[in-house]
């Protein structure tokens, strides 16, 4: 009877050991595989693990974008401006409630135009200075002439006061650069009253 009980215990112990071995082979709980007093390999590997994003590609792209925008942005810092007074025009104000627009005031036929130096700009870039100069010349010559005849500290015997009105009258087909060059020549010489010629054509009549 005692032998039977001992055999039964032995068989139960063997069965338990076999189940334990089978569990260990199948990857069971770590506690089952670890010996007491020694940390498990899985826990040792998991301690202190932090998730990190790899930022290097993003920084690369960001810097590429930065360089692209810096290279392609136009600043316009090299541009300069010439101040000018535009000719006064009698624009038609919108008529209120269908009323006819007010007629332009009649001009005194005996009124004389202010004396001024009229400089025509031709299509080939040359200029024709009006009275009292009265001749056609190149732009460089006009530049020197205007500087020489502007009465001031540098040329006390100059023909024109700095406030003398200078009217630039470009031809219709004169390039914009030539028109601006004459304006610039007069401004650089020291004249303060420089502008384009007043035209009577209404706005929009470009051609």
């Amino acid at each position: 009877m005692a032998d039977a009980t001992a055999a039964e215990d032995r068989a139960r112990t063997l069965g338990a050991l076999e189940r334990l071995a089978a569990t260990a082979r199948a990857g069971g709980p770590a506690q089952a595989r670890t010996l007491p007093g020694r940390p498990s390999r899985r826990r040792a590997r998991g301690v202190g693990t932090t998730l990190r994003t790899n930022l290097t590609p993003m920084i690369d792209v960001v810097f590429l974008l930065l360089i692209f925008y810096m290279a392609t942005t136009r600043w316009g810092t090299d541009e300069r401006v010439i101040a000018m007074d535009l000719a006064r025009r009698t624009a038609q104000a919108p008529a209120a409630d269908g009323a006819a627009p007010a007629p332009a005031p009649a001009r005194d036929p005996f009124a004389l135009d202010d004396e001024s130096l009229r400089i025509e700009v031709l299509a080939d870039g040359s200029v024709r200075a009006g009275t009292p100069l009265g001749r056609t010349m190149r732009l460089t010559e006009l530049r020197e002439l205007l500087a020489r005849e502007c009465r001031g500290v540098g040329s006390p015997g100059g023909m024109f006061e700095p406030s003398f009105p200078i009217v630039v009258a470009p031809a219709e087909d004169a390039p914009w650069e030539a028109a601006v060059a004459v304006l610039d020549a007069a401004t650089a010489a020291g004249y303060r009253n420089v502008g384009f010629e007043r035209r009577t054509a209404p706005a929009g009549a470009a051609r």
């Binding site: 920084i59 300069r80 401006v81 914009w176 601006v180 304006l183 020549a185």
Partner: protein
């Protein structure tokens, strides 16, 4: 026996803190994108006239409107552009340009109006733009001396067109 404090900390672990760098880079990108949009609205690609003197001044810091004469072939103008709006080079387009300018000038009388045109454009196509500005001044009813009108050029010996 006690270990030194340096060794007790373990191996040195040096890391660069990249967050401020990325923040700055993104801010700069946003800045350049916005500046690029503003610049593209104001500046049409033009070959501006170049002056021979240093008389022209730098553009001021005042708020400004820029009227661009968009060049076409044969020294003509394809359109007139104000900001992002384009106006045809006919009478209707120029009248609309003058009305739009007048509204802007009425809203902000201390404006600066700049006229930009290509160096090869014929004067007959630039004059309507200046006339439209002059008409806008008359339509707005604002004192002419308060609005400054300027022609945009390139200085002698510098810059690209």
């Amino acid at each position: 026996m006690r270990a030194s404090r340096i060794h007790s900390r373990g191996p040195a672990h040096i890391e660069a803190q990249l967050t401020p760098l990325i923040d700055m880079a993104f801010l700069l990108i946003v800045f350049f994108v916005l500046v690029g949009q503003v610049a593209s609205a104001e500046f049409v690609e033009l070959s501006l006239p170049r002056t021979a003197s240093d008389a022209p001044g730098r553009p001021g810091d005042a708020q400004r409107l820029v009227v661009n004469v968009v060049p076409a072939r044969d020294s003509g103008a394809a359109a007139y552009r104000l900001g992002r709006r384009e106006f045809g080079p006919d009478a209707g387009g120029l009248a609309e340009l003058a009305r739009t300018l007048a509204e802007a000038i009425r809203a902000k009388p201390a404006l600066e109006v700049n006229v930009r045109a290509d160096r090869a454009t014929a004067y007959s196509w630039v004059r309507p733009a200046m006339d439209a500005v002059s008409d806008a001044l008359a339509l707005s009813g604002v004192d002419r001396s308060r609005v400054r009108v300027r022609l945009v050029v390139l200085p002698a010996g510098g810059g690209d067109g």
